[in-house]
């Protein structure tokens, strides 16, 4: 596949590349473009592609304390809540996922495969049907309308997959390394923290990023569990915002860009590890 210098080959390749790029990137691009247009431009005909007069109006409106949107939705609070929930649950998920991942990946014990399979399947249960019983459970624990409750819930949702990614990756690390360390008198715990885990960093980063994105964009459970304005997360704000300004896509686009930006930054820095870790999880063991 390499070094085919034939022009036809490269033309075809470029065309395919453009098709893929258009499909994947155009919707995002279009939303960002809309965020720089005025409401009047978006409502008028014919549709314009590039903003006629690029403006930051929609972004300013998000934070302007006199505008409708900022009074309804305090973005700084929403964003900091989402950060607290996403970061805390990510830490929990990586910590406990690593513990369990080590056990599943490197220790043989009765029922291991069955338990891991069961954990993976449990991810399917998180649909609309569980909204009501989950609310009842959180209420019983006195954790509804609390960020701590949401952190625990998201952690429970995220743990199975994180465990699986980490376990698959730990399985790849040669067992001899650990064995020789243990011969030298290191305990299980020591060999795990000093020998195995440093080698599994990409997998840990992958699990962390995966969970962070999931927690950052979760809407259904957050919307039913959280009540007070000071507890709401960014997706709740975004959904209210979309409902209020549904045909003003400049505002929707600006809000969406704002909400997606933190994740994009995370990805910019973690991308390389992310694919490597995923690969370890998904490639033959």
């Amino acid at each position: 596949m390499n070094q085919s210098a034939r022009p036809l080959y490269w033309t075809v390749m470029s065309l395919i590349g453009i098709v893929i790029a258009t499909y994947v990137l155009f919707p995002v691009f279009w939303l960002v473009l809309a965020s720089f247009k005025t409401t009047g431009e978006l409502a008028s005909l014919p549709l314009t592609f590039w903003p006629a007069k690029p403006t930051l109006e929609a972004y300013q409106a998000l934070f302007d304390s006199n505008s409708q949107s900022s009074q309804l939705l305090r973005w700084p609070t929403l964003i900091s809540n989402s950060f607290i929930v996403s970061v805390s649950s990510t830490i929990l998920v990586v910590f406990f996922g690593t513990l369990a991942g080590y056990a599943f990946g490197r220790i043989k014990f009765p029922g291991r495969d069955l338990i891991l399979g069961g954990l993976l399947i449990s991810r399917m249960f998180q649909g609309a049907a569980l909204l009501l019983p989950t609310y009842r459970l959180m209420n019983m624990l006195n954790l509804q309308d609390s960020l701590i409750g949401l952190i625990l819930l998201y952690s429970a949702f995220g743990l199975p997959f994180a465990t699986w990614i980490i376990a698959s990756s730990l399985r790849e690390i040669p067992f001899e390394l650990e064995e020789s360390a243990m011969m030298d008198g290191a305990s299980r715990l020591q060999s795990m923290t000093r020998i195995v885990l440093p080698l599994a960093t990409p997998a840990l980063i992958t699990a962390a990023m995966w969970h962070f994105v999931g927690a950052w964009s979760e809407f259904a459970f957050a919307s039913i569990l959280l009540e007070s304005a000071q507890n709401k997360t960014v997706t709740i704000g975004l959904a209210s915002f979309v409902e209020l300004f549904t045909i003003e896509f400049n505002r929707v686009g600006a809000a969406a860009t704002l909400v997606a930006l933190p994740i994009m930054v995370v990805f910019f820095f973690g991308q390389r590890y992310f694919t490597r870790g995923l690969l370890a999880g998904a490639v033959k063991g």
């Binding site: 409502a43 008028s44 005909l45 409708q68 949107s69 009074q71 309804l72 909204l131 009501l132 609310y135 009842r136 209420n139 509804q144 919307s223 039913i224 009540e227 007070s228 304005a229 709740i236 959904a239 209210s240 409902e243 209020l244 300004f245 549904t246 045909i247």
Partner: protein
């Protein structure tokens, strides 16, 4: 300046009056303690006005610890249901008039008249338009206090296009409507559009037409779903006829276009008329130089339904209700009472971004309302605005029946079934659903 002074004077007067009347009735105890209030959805301006009013409430009731939450309108029912099941419902919830029978039937909310006492109710009656206040009644009791209503159904007409087609007044009958729509249709601009998605507003718009034709969707007396009553079938046939005349966008375009999008199409000059609720295009600016007016939806030439035809149907989407298990009913009723004050109800007195039919009598005197909706104010003053109007469908299981109706409308609009077939099937499906719910 003059205006501001007047208002302040009035406010001081009315609160003094309220506290006076409160003394003898309730044994001299002003409300205090924790009070939670949940509001769902609304237009941006209204959602913004609400917390501002809360601040006034707190100023007048310093002993109350108000916990106010605003929620996305789409999660209204699931949020209320979950909270009710776990005994966590807020003291005051602000929901739809159409919700009342279910909430009352499930024991979620309690009658306001018993809680407030005769004196307060008498004051409410003085301040509220009686026809709108009746929208909060169910089973002979006042369960909700509407702050405004929306009415169905109306048409918005591009008057330039109307004149161009040689007409000088809006259509008044179904036959005229079909003529107008056909005459106003151009190759790139349908004469009329109507929203037909699964959005509840789109279904309410159709119900307004069907009820005016003597149709109903449910008969409380017999417990039977009546979607296939001739009144509904012929109204749906009107939709089908307009499409068959070639006067509308394609059926599939209308099933993906909700009321807001349809309003936008009208504003862009991509439809010469559209069928909507009372606010039509008022909340959304139309381009300079475009002329339009709203009119009641044309009447059937001869109503064919088995029920009495109505002039319009109406419902409030910000109706105050008090939880049946409220721990602070005193503060809750004071909060409801606060919203019956003219100062608060003025929020709906003509702000085009809110564009509702106000419940407060005083709001009808606002000059802005006369400016935005001159015809309505005229009709209201003449006492004809609510003549023959009735509440939008409301009974236990209303969502299931409306959803079945929405499906049937879409089937007909898409040309999959005839109006009769679609509504027959919807009737039996909805009947099964409703029997299950009512046991």
């Amino acid at each position: 300046m003059q205006m501001k002074l007047n208002r302040r004077h009035f406010l001081a007067g009315s609160t003094a009056l309220a506290s006076l009347s409160l003394l003898p009735a309730t044994g001299a105890r002003a409300a205090s303690g924790a009070l939670s209030v949940w509001k769902f959805g609304g237009t941006p301006a209204e959602v913004e006005a609400w917390p501002a009013a809360n601040a006034r409430f707190l100023a007048a009731n310093p002993g109350v610890n108000l916990d106010y939450s605003f929620f996305n309108g789409q999660i209204r029912r699931q949020k209320l249901l979950a909270a009710f099941q776990t005994n966590k419902l807020a003291d005051v919830v602000i929901a739809f008039g159409q919700d009342i029978p279910e909430f009352a039937g499930f024991g979620m909310i309690q009658p306001l008249d018993a809680l407030a006492g005769a004196d307060k109710v008498a004051q409410w009656k003085e301040r509220l338009v009686p026809e709108i206040m009746a929208d909060g009644m169910y089973d002979g009791k006042l369960y909700g206090l509407p702050t405004y209503v929306d009415m169905a159904s109306f048409i918005a007409i591009n008057t330039d296009a109307m004149k161009e087609a040689g007409f000088d007044r809006p259509p008044q009958t179904w036959t005229e409507l079909r003529e107008y729509a056909k005459a106003m249709t151009k190759p790139d601009r349908p004469g009329i559009a109507f929203p037909a998605t699964t959005a509840p507003v789109d279904i309410n718009i159709f119900e307004g037409i069907a009820y005016a034709n003597g149709g109903r969707i449910f008969d409380e007396e017999t417990g039977k779903v009546t979607l296939n009553d001739p009144g509904c079938v012929d109204a749906l046939q009107l939709y089908a006829d307009l499409i068959a005349d070639g006067s509308t966008p394609s059926g599939s375009a209308m099933t993906e276009t909700n009321f807001r999008d349809t309003a936008q199409l009208f504003g862009q000059g991509r439809a010469a008329m559209w069928i909507g609720l009372s606010w039509l295009n008022t909340p959304w600016p139309v381009p300079e130089g475009m002329h339009w007016e709203g009119a009641p939806f044309p009447r059937p030439d001869k109503p064919t339904g088995t029920f009495p035809p109505v002039a319009a149907i109406m419902d409030g989407t910000a109706v105050l209700m008090v939880s049946a298990r409220s721990k602070n009913p005193q503060a809750a009723i004071d909060y409801v009472d606060f919203w019956t004050q003219n100062e608060q109800l003025k929020v709906w007195g003509g702000n085009p971004e809110i564009a509702r039919v106000p419940a407060g009598k005083a709001a009808w005197d606002e000059p802005k309302l006369a400016e935005v909706w001159p015809n309505w104010v005229k009709a209201y003053k003449a006492g004809t605005l609510f003549e023959g109007a009735q509440a939008m469908p409301r009974f236990i299981g209303v969502s299931a029946v409306e959803s079945a109706l929405g499906g049937a409308i879409q089937q007909v609009v898409l040309g999959q079934k005839s109006a009769q077939e679609a509504l027959d099937a919807a009737t039996s499906a909805a009947q099964t659903q409703i029997d299950l719910l009512r046991g």
